[in-house]
């Protein structure tokens, strides 16, 4: 069935069923991915998909359902399932749909350069990516992961209050993991790059960097347990930061699940820290002109020189707090309920190069890998204890690689102990763009 007819059919059924208002989110997209192993294409993925998410609103309560085809049968299934889901919804939360008002930003999310690139060229590039990693050094045993991917998507949101919007976007990513070995020591090095156009990915440099990272870790020793000054490499600080951004969600604040609840306008971090949410960041494939409730997005400062400026709101939490949605209702997939999250987190870079940060560290540890972010970190309490590896630094110089230690602290302690911020901002696949950051003191456990 054609999209417009499907939409009309669903809205008519929703009205008949007894919903006050109704909304359909429709996404369609394609994904392409290649991976290389030992100079040959190891896997090739090519996909097209569609998804429909229906929400019915009645007396402030929502019922939702989803499907992956546009047929008459699907239209009635969506409305029936949504109505049964609505019938068990409880609590005092009052939901709203957006009427399409507000100023929508200019958005050029679709370039089309990735889809225009011939497949043979993509194949050549992924093989070059692997080869550049492999040929970097004799100690590179293999390249376990070597992948190039790109995707495009188109999103439509339309409802019975008059909202009717859509946007397209595209982008690509390269990921490479190199495995190095010498004696009993085996180490992996990981690099990635997100880009809007193939030309922004220097596959050869990326492969070499992954191998360099693996080689640099060979022969890693242990570090003595104790308190250390810690320098997080840009991507690592980005990952750590991203793990705890749920505390900015007004939903968590209103439910008592945020450790920064009630701290608007107060100092929560070192004055060196300034953080934005920038939904229109040109480099990010996650950028968008409106959120998944159809509300226009806008760039906002969350932390300015250490002071908490605002939380992030969707329609429901904004109404409850007597403010306006910040346009941060985001679905993790077409069939998920929108929930509040950052769109593109940007930690404002400082002035110092990575090497300057190392030399000013005096004695300390550089963290270049973190593990256990989904298990060893508690986004509610802010506490974390994570596996790490990196380098031991003495007298401002890297002495040797170190492995198998844990770093433990709480995120607000980290915020407050920031003593230097680098100039080396790096946009990551975790939707964070962060420079390298030095924290004055952390617990490090090993032997």
């Amino acid at each position: 069935m054609e999209w417009k007819k499907f939409k009309d059919t669903v809205f008519a059924l929703a009205k008949k069923k007894g919903f006050d208002e109704a909304e359909i989110y429709y996404s369609s997209g394609s994904e392409f991915q290649l991976s290389s192993l030992r100079g040959e294409i190891d896997s090739y993925n090519d996909a097209t998909s569609i998804g429909v998410y229906f929400r019915g609103l009645k007396s402030g309560k929502i019922g939702a359902a989803f499907a992956e085809e546009l047929t008459d049968e699907t239209a009635s299934m969506l409305v029936d399932e949504a109505f049964e889901n609505y019938s068990i919804a409880s609590g005092n939360d009052v939901y709203f749909l957006h009427d399409g008002s507000g100023e929508y930003p200019q958005f050029e999310g679709f370039i089309g350069a990735f889809s225009a690139q011939p497949v043979v060229e993509k194949i050549e590039r992924v093989i070059t990516l692997e080869r550049s990693a492999l040929e970097y050094d004799k100690r590179i045993i293999m390249v376990p992961t070597c992948r190039l991917g790109d995707s495009r998507s188109e999103v439509f949101i339309v409802n019975t209050l008059g909202l009717d919007r859509h946007y397209s976007s595209d982008g690509g990513v390269a990921v490479v993991v190199a495995l190095a070995g010498e004696g009993d020591s085996k180490k992996t090095g990981f690099t990635f790059k997100i880009a809007r156009e193939p030309g922004d990915i220097d596959v050869s440099a990326l492969g070499k960097e992954a191998s360099k990272r693996a080689i640099d870790q060979l022969g890693a020793g242990r570090v003595k347990s104790g308190k250390y000054r810690v320098l997080f490499r840009n991507d690592m600080f980005g990952q750590l930061f991203a793990t705890f951004t749920s505390m900015y969600s007004a939903e968590n604040v209103q439910k008592g699940l945020s450790i920064i609840a009630g701290k608007e306008g107060t100092k929560i971090a070192s004055e060196l820290l300034t953080v934005y949410d920038d939904p229109l960041l040109p480099i990010s494939p996650n950028s968008r002109p409106f959120d998944d409730e159809g509300v226009p997005t806008v760039k906002k400062t969350l932390v300015e020189n250490g002071v908490l400026k605002t939380f992030l709101y969707d329609l429901k939490t904004a109404a409850k707090a007597g403010t306006k949605s910040t346009g941060n209702a985001i679905k993790s997939s077409y069939r998920a309920k929108p929930s509040i999250s950052m769109i593109n987190t940007v930690v404002q870079p400082g002035e110092k190069s990575f090497n300057t940060l190392v030399s000013e560290l005096d004695e300390g540890i550089v963290v270049t890998e973190l593990t256990g972010l989904h298990s060893g970190a508690n986004p509610i309490s802010g506490e974390f204890s994570l596996g790490a590896s990196g380098f031991y630094v003495k007298n401002g110089s890297i002495v040797n690689p170190v492995e198998q230690f844990t770093i433990s602290s709480s995120i607000l302690k980290v915020y407050n102990s920031i003593v230097a911020i680098g100039s080396d901002a790096m946009p990551s696949i975790f939707r964070v763009s962060s420079p390298s950051v030095v924290v004055s003191e952390m617990d490090v456990a090993s032997e």
Binding site: D42, S49, A65, I88, P144, S385, G387, T406, S408, D443
Partner: protein
């Protein structure tokens, strides 16, 4: 569903590009997700997934494509794209005589998700909520999630395999937060099975809630765990996540075939202490990770991975088998049609030994007792792992002396296997979602209580 003849045409179309093997996987899934926060249903959604994944092999090269359009025309179109990637045009007219695999259904279902009202599902969640929130006045927040699905799959391939399976799963998950003076700790328990609503004849939802609350309530009053190298006793059931993460992933063909596993080339060699035997068994009736056939249509079977410390088998999918020149072991799985299948664990556990758990604790002078484990991660190439201890206790002079929190365990899988020195007789399994390249899938982990003679414990004091 299309006719056998139609699938035969689609497969022939893929083969006509010179592929050695072609496969069609069609999936239809009805699914429900309900989320209750502080006793209120905050989100309930349900719907139907429908799609197909087509795959071709040329040598050990794999080409995968998926679509939501499962009509004959839609699938022929995707088949045509696969064909053009494989290469040369050759005329193929293989007449496929599909053989239907015969098997006994190991996961019979009494009450399928479709026939149970959402109100009944919500009622079970409410009991779990009450169990957790009423546990102590320190419990400040309770989140209960429920999900079920009913998945039907049809698999056809160019070797004449025609298989179908129906998989129903139901799971209840409780997270309880305990707070004291702004300090928070989370406890979790999430029982599930490959069965329908009859799961709740076996699992008492209220007791499930109490169990999650007990962990949070005990940990909020605990001191931080000591850090450093020490003996660690890992409790049964979800404690098996250590084996799953640190060893199981490295026994999957995905990493072995690439030579990216520490266990590659070690079949028949001693990789663990003699007291360690382990299996991957997708044939346990109604277990969370069980299935009748795998996602390539191969009948599932129990695989003995480690026998008295000696490596006996890997978990192998069709593509991994081609690369390793070994037979597939019925271990190929995927989250859904949007993922190409690969070798994965199902229900993986260490077999029981002969020590009583009390005996193991009594034999330990000083160490950590990891009663409940959280999730973790591992780097298959190096075996380095990291995982969180959700509920920990200190052992001093052979006795449990006090609860401790905030501990993480880090080490290398191959080293830990050699350092397991006592294995208990209390085997139990726990449920988890395992994430890897073919997506997130239900998997049981399990083990008896066991002792690792030394491990690095990360903590704060």
């Amino acid at each position: 569903m299309l006719s056998d003849e139609a699938y035969s045409k689609i497969i022939n179309r893929i083969l006509s590009g010179g592929a050695d093997f072609a496969e069609v996987f069609v999936e239809e899934r009805y699914t429900n997700n309900i989320s209750m926060i502080q006793g209120e249903i905050e989100d309930s959604s349900s719907g139907k997934l429908l799609g197909a994944g087509l795959r071709a092999f040329k040598g050990t090269r794999s080409i995968y494509a998926y679509t939501n359009d499962v009509s004959f025309e839609g699938l022929m179109d995707v088949a045509g794209r696969l064909k053009s990637v494989v290469g040369q045009e050759i005329e193929r007219d293989l007449v496929l005589d599909f053989r239907v695999g015969e098997y006994k259904d190991i996961c019979p279902v009494l009450f399928a998700p479709q026939i149970i009202s959402k109100k009944d599902k919500a009622a079970v969640m409410r009991l779990a909520h009450e169990g957790a929130s009423g546990f102590s006045d320190r419990i400040s927040q309770v989140v209960v999630n429920y999900f079920d699905y009913s998945q039907n799959v049809w698999i056809y391939n160019s070797e004449g395999v025609k298989a179908s399976d129906s998989r129903v799963r139901t799971r209840l998950m409780v997270s309880a937060v305990a707070s004291v003076n702004g300090d928070k700790e989370v406890g979790f328990y999430g029982p599930g099975a490959a069965q329908g609503f009859e799961l709740f004849n076996r699992i008492d939802p209220r007791a499930a809630g109490e169990r999650a609350a007990r962990i949070a309530d005990r940990m909020i009053r605990a001191e931080y765990a000591p850090a450093g190298k020490m003996p660690v006793i890992i409790s049964n059931e979800f404690g098996g996540v250590i084996f799953h993460e640190a060893c199981g992933h490295a026994l999957e063909a995905t990493s072995v075939a690439k030579g990216a596993s520490v266990f590659a080339g070690k079949l028949g060699e001693k990789i663990a202490c003699e007291c360690v035997s382990a299996v991957d068994d997708p044939t346990i009736p109604n277990a969370w990770g069980s299935a009748n056939v795998d996602d390539e249509g191969t009948p599932t079977r129990r695989n003995l991975l480690i026998e008295k410390g000696v490596l006996r088998s890997y978990m192998i999918d069709r593509l991994g088998g081609l690369k390793m020149k070994m037979e597939p072991t019925g271990s190929s799985r995927r989250q859904n049609y949007t993922f190409a299948p690969t070798s994965r664990m199902s229900n993986t556990f260490i077999l029981p030994g002969d020590h009583y758990p009390e005996e193991i604790i009594a034999a330990t002078d000083y160490g950590l007792y990891a009663k409940s484990m959280g999730g973790g991660s591992v780097m298959p190439a190096t075996g380095e792992f990291n995982f969180a201890v959700n509920e920990g206790y200190l052992i001093e002079k052979g006795r449990i002396t006090k609860p401790v929190r905030g501990a993480t365990l880090i080490g290398k899988g191959n080293e830990v296997l050699m350092k397991i020195d006592m294995v208990g007789n209390d085997l139990a399994r726990g449920q988890g979602m395992c994430g890897s390249i073919s997506g997130s899938i239900p998997a049981d982990v399990g083990q008896p209580t066991l002792r690792v003679s030394e491990l690095i414990v990360g903590g704060r004091s």
